[in-house]
Structures are given as C-alpha cells and as structure tokens.
C-alpha cells in the first residue's frame, strides 16, 4: 500500500520527544475548557449524549500529559527493540477515549499508524487525527485513518479490537511473523463493601455506569454489594436509583437503536419476573433501571444504564461470583472494603481481572494501564535481548 510507505517515511522524520510533545498538546486541546474538538465530537458522535461525551473525554484525559507519556515510554522502551515502521490499528466499540489511546500508543512507541475506525464510531479517530495534524503536521502525517483492509496484510504490526471471533480472524491473517496485539471483549464488575455510605458509593457507581451508558468493557456489568449488615444491598440499590435520577439532566443517556431498546426491555422484563428481584426504573422512561436481586444469583449483565445489584455475604462470595468470569473479566471497581481490599484484590486477580480501581474511576484508566493485562507499549515492538559483553 502506497499510503503505508508514506506513513513510514513520515515517522522516519520524527524523534520521540516531538511525538510526545505533539500527543500531549493534542490531549490538552481535547480537555481544555470549551475545547472545540470535544464540542464537535459531542455533536457528531451519535451513540452518546453530548454531555456524556464532553464529560467522559475531559475526565479520561486528565492525566494524559507530557510527563506521563515520557515516563511510560522510558519505562517500557528503554531496552533495544525493533519498532515497526507502520502499525495497523483496527478499532471497535464506540468509546472515544479508547480510540484515542489505541491511536496514541503505537505513535508513542515510535510507529506510524494506519487506523480503521469502528463502524459504531466513525468520528473519534478522524477528529483525533485531524487535531494531531493541526497540533504538529509532521506528527499528524504519521497517522492515517482509512478503511483499506489490505493494511492488515501490509503493515509491520497489527493491533485489533473487537469480538473474540474477530480477534482470532485477524490474528490468523497477520500470522506469526509480525507483532500482533488483540483486545477482545471484556466486562467489569463493581464491588461495594460496608465501609462507605450507600449514597456516596451509589453516586460513584452511577458515574461509572453513566459514562458511556454501560456499553464499555470497563462499565460495571453487575454491582456486587456486601450485604452486611443485612439490608445494605437494598440501601445501595435505593441510593443508586436516586443517583441515576440525579444524573438524568446532567448526563442523559444516549438514544437507543430499536434492537438496543428491545434488549433493554428484555432485561427489564426478565428482572421483573425473576423470583424475589425488586425493580426500580425511571418513571415513564427507559433511561435507568436498578434491579435488586434476592440473593447470590447471576442475572444477565447490565447495559444501557440497567444495573443489577447482587447482595453477597462476604468477600469470598464475591470471589465465587467473579471466578467464572475469567478470562473475560477486565476491571473491578471497588469502594468500602477498608482492610479487606487486599483480599478483594487477590480474588479479583484470581478471576482474571487486570485492573482494580476505586469506584467512580472505572472509566478513567491511566494511559499506562496494562489494558487487559498487556503492557501498553512492549507488545507493539519486537525485542532484542543483548547478552554478554563485547568480545
């Protein structure tokens, strides 16, 4: 592909410091008050409401600055390695900041990027590329957005996001000779212990759900509430309903497609008829739903601001709930565990989680997080181990 040769030439003209500066300035543009880029994305995105896009992007990019970029690069790429001239990045899903980091990381590693946007979000990658080019045209020339699947064959490395089936297909197409990093489907859970006021926990949890409407792999699919003393889970469920209601104007949910609305209606109907489940819903609207389960069951995972609160007896029960989720568990957002946090971490790790974070920050992973347990940059390059002294 001619475009890939041009991208490789553009990256050859760059030094890492310039790339870091350009990325940092671009992130700064996106999080600045009244950022025109953010406003435009909020207007054009289509899946989420404008306030969710505005807030989600602003909050997520908070720590993505020159220092963190430089430190990540220094930490991960200090040893000798071969950096692929061009990395093809196949995006999936609809979360803008996930697209931003997917584009930025190979650039930070020193590769040029050919990116195919996700069908559900054709906007984020293009706007990010445009803002990078505006910040520094030379760095911007190392990032192209297109849809030519030949890039999967011709690029020097490939990063793919999508379903497990898609990842398997792309992995097979890429073959063994080139670096390949795949990010399949994941899900996350929220865990709420007794050492926090229910309304405080609920407000944090509601934010984790409201940002990206429960669609993301970092969105809590269930809220596991330690029901000690008995009735705490019910208190949390009531508080969560209040917290969702509080967010109705501030962070309204995006419009659902008919299939999505149908899925939500089915979730609500299943909860309504499940033995012992108590349902609270937005009055006359589908915008939020809280289902309080009667015991340690595994209801269908929540999405579109539907969340089941599952009472669990103790941290061990919480671990039992999470265990079958491996290898699909990504993040455990937690609050109120106090000294039990260490045990919670042990259970989460055993269940395959790769991130344990405070409730309210589930949608705000730092740029250097080990996404799905994979180091952010090290998988993008090929390593050279240099052994022994020069003879």
């Amino acid at each position: 592909m001619r475009e890939l040769a041009e991208l490789a030439a553009a990256r050859d003209a760059l030094d890492p410091r310039r790339v870091i500066r350009a990325l940092a300035e671009t992130f700064e543009r996106w999080r600045a008050p009244g950022s025109p880029e953010r406003v435009r994305l909020a207007r054009e995105h289509g899946v989420y409401s404008a306030p969710v896009v505005e807030r989600g992007v602003k909050l997520a990019l908070a720590g993505w600055n020159e220092e963190s970029l430089a430190s990540l690069r220094a930490r991960e790429l200090s040893d000798p390695c071969w950096v692929p001239p061009v990395t093809a990045v196949w995006l999936a899903g609809s979360i803008p900041t996930a697209a931003f980091s997917a584009l930025a990381l190979p650039l930070l590693a020193g590769s040029a990027v050919y990116a195919k946007p996700a069908s559900a979000d054709p906007v984020s990658a293009r706007l990010f590329a445009a803002s990078l080019a505006e910040t520094d045209p030379a760095v911007g020339a190392a990032l192209a957005v297109g849809s030519d699947s030949k890039a999967l064959d011709d690029a020097d490395a490939v990063v793919a996001h999508g379903s497990d089936a898609t990842i398997a297909l792309v992995r097979a197409r890429v073959g063994p000779g080139r670096p390949f990093v795949g990010y399949g489907h994941k899900l996350s859970v929220a865990a709420i212990g007794p050492a926090i006021e229910p309304l405080v926990a609920a407000r944090r949890l509601a934010l984790d759900v409201a940002l990206w409407d429960g669609r993301g792999c970092l969105s809590p699919a269930w809220a596991l509430a330690l029901d000690a003393p008995r009735g705490r889970a019910a208190e949390l469920a009531r508080a969560l309903a209040t917290a969702f209601e509080e967010l109705e104007d501030e962070l309204p949910r995006g419009k659902l497609e008919p299939g999505e609305a149908s899925e939500l209606v089915e979730l609500r109907a299943r909860a309504a008829v499940r033995d012992g489940t108590r349902l609270e819903m937005a009055a006359g609207a589908s915008t939020w739903t809280v289902a309080l389960e009667s015991g340690e069951v595994r209801p269908p995972p929540g999405i579109f601001r539907f969340l089941s609160v599952v009472p669990v007896a103790d941290v061990e029960s919480l671990g039992r709930f999470c265990a079958p989720l491996a290898p699909h568990l990504s993040c455990v957002g937690h609050a109120g565990f106090g000294a039990e946090r260490g045990r919670l971490a042990a259970f989460a790790a055993a269940a395959g989680a790769s991130r344990l974070c405070p409730l309210g920050r589930m949608q705000l992973p730092p740029l250097d997080w080990n996404h799905d347990g994979q180091p952010p940059l090290r998988g993008l390059v090929r390593w050279l181990d240099v052994e022994g002294a020069e003879i």
Binding site: A98, P258, V265, P301
Partner: protein, 358 residues
Amino acid sequence: MTRAELEREVLGWIAEGVTAPTDDARFEALALALFQLQIERGAAYRRLCAAFGCDPRSVRHWREIPAVPTGALKEARFAIFPPEATLRTFRSSGTSAGARGELELDDLSLYDASLEATFRAFICPDAERLRFLVLAPSAADAPDSSLSYMFSRAVERMGTATSRFLVGADGWEPDQAIAELAAAREPVVLAGTAFAFVHLLDRLEARGETLALPAGTRVMETGGFKGRSRELTREELHGEIEAKLGVPLTRIVNQYGMCELATQFYEPTLRTGVYGDVKQAPPWVRVRVVDPVTQKDVAGGERGVLAICDLANTGSVLALLTSDLGELAEGGFRIFGRLRGAEARGCSLAADALLGAR
C-alpha cells in the same frame, strides 16, 4: 369465560380457516377474556404487569394487552397450568447463547388446529395429500423442537406414505437427499430449515449439478441460519433454490414462527401465484409493529419490533414481544430479521453469550 369455553371459541374460529372474516370485535372479546384469565392464573405475568405499571383491570382493548418480551419466558414460568399437567414442551434451538425459549402445552388441540389450518392453507392449498421430503428431523428424533413437531404433524395430516425425513437425530447426508430428490417423479413438498437448504445447495454446487424437481413441487424454508451455514438474504436463498432445484419463485414460501407461539406465518405465494415477501396472519392472530419501550404502535409504514397477539396461545401468554424487526404492509407484515443488539455499538459483550450462561 372459562378456559375451556375460550378454547372452544378459538377452535371454532380456526375451523373456519384462514379466509374467515377477521372480525375485530370477535378478536377483541376473546383477547380480553383470555388476557384476564392469564393474568388471574399467571403469577409471572402479573409481576410483569405490576413492574411496568399496567393495571390489568384497566385494559380495554387488545392493543393495550402488555406484550411479554420473549426473553422473560426464559426467566420464569408463564404457563397457567400446573407443571405436572404439561404434555409437551417446545424449546428454541438454543444456538444463540443464553437460555432457551420455551412453550409448555397441556393440550395440543389448539396448537394442532392452528398449525394444520395455516400449513394446509399456505403450503398445500391445492392437494389433499402430497409427498413430503423434509430437511429437518422428525418429532421422534427432536422431541422438543416445535419445527420438527410441525413437520411431523403436517406429514401425518397432509403427506403421502412415501414422505420422508431426510435428517435424522445424528444429522444427514446431503448426497442421499440429492439422490432422493433426483429420483422424484411426482410433485413434492420440500420443506426444511434455511441452513439445511444452504447445505443442500452447496453440495449441489460442489458436484456441479442442478436438479429439476417435478412441476407442482413447492418449497417451504424457515428458521434462519443460526451460524450453521453461510448466510444469504431471503432473495438470494430463493434465487439459488430456483436455479439449482428448478422450483420457480412462485412456488417458494418462507415461514416465520417461533417456539413460543402456537401459530406460524407464511407468505401467500401458493394461494395467489405471486411471489412476495409479505406474510399473512390468520384471523385469530394480530400482528403489531411497536416501539419496544412504550409498546405503542409505530407510525404507519415505519419499522419497529413485531408484537404478536395469538389467541391460540391459551396456556401461557397470548401477547408476545419478539426481537424481530418488521413493518406492516398491505395484507400482512414484512420481517427484516433479528434486531441488532448491544454488541454492535459497545465493547462490552452481552455476557449471556460470553458466559454461555443460564
């Protein structure tokens, strides 16, 4: 009205056939009576109505009867008779992840009557008995499949003694089916799942052969592909059937049904001689196209979710909300397949699928 009285009324209507007057007043009266009965006896239906803020006593028109999302039937038992009275349970194929849909029956008379009336009217309108070749297992081989039950019942009532099921409990051999079809000298009813047809067509393609089935043959396909074959549009599938089996489009019918319903829907192609994609509902069934959240009818001509009110579903719920996209059309409705769900626009997986759960 008691359930027995209601069933007698519905049976009477079914006996009048698919060309009986649609009679809205008759439908309204029966639907409302049946709804009240199902609410009285069905705890799950009552819970659903309560959660969605519907007071059953305030329901005055059949369109106001809350349609139960089919997924809810996977979560709770909606049958209005005791479990020990169950004579037969049909389950969905379960190829898509998650729990399987079910229909429990304590009496098959209404189910059979609706099945036979529609099958005869839309597939065998011109002959008392025909030879069936079925690309699906028989009811004996797949006892919980409503599709197999339908085919077995149709063969029993409308088939000749030489009718055959070409798929067994352990699968089938397309080459044997091809030999059977190639040897056919009289018109047949070739019926089966869409994916079985694709396997048959693919085998013919691999052999570099085509068939010319006897004049008068008709094809009925149903059930979608369920990831078991390459996927074709309805038009592509029918085009290949015409080209490779020699059956004209005017003798090919797609059926729409689901295991949770007693009644199935067909295109009236064999009755009218005109190939089309509009499916007809018999007089004892009504189909609405709704917004799934409000369950209100969408504006005329718009697409929405199909909601079906089937008077033959006496033993569980008469009103079901499907997950299928459709639109109303002159003489019936069109279906555009399964609605695209969450997986299309998010990165979290519908974890029913992920966990293969429940």
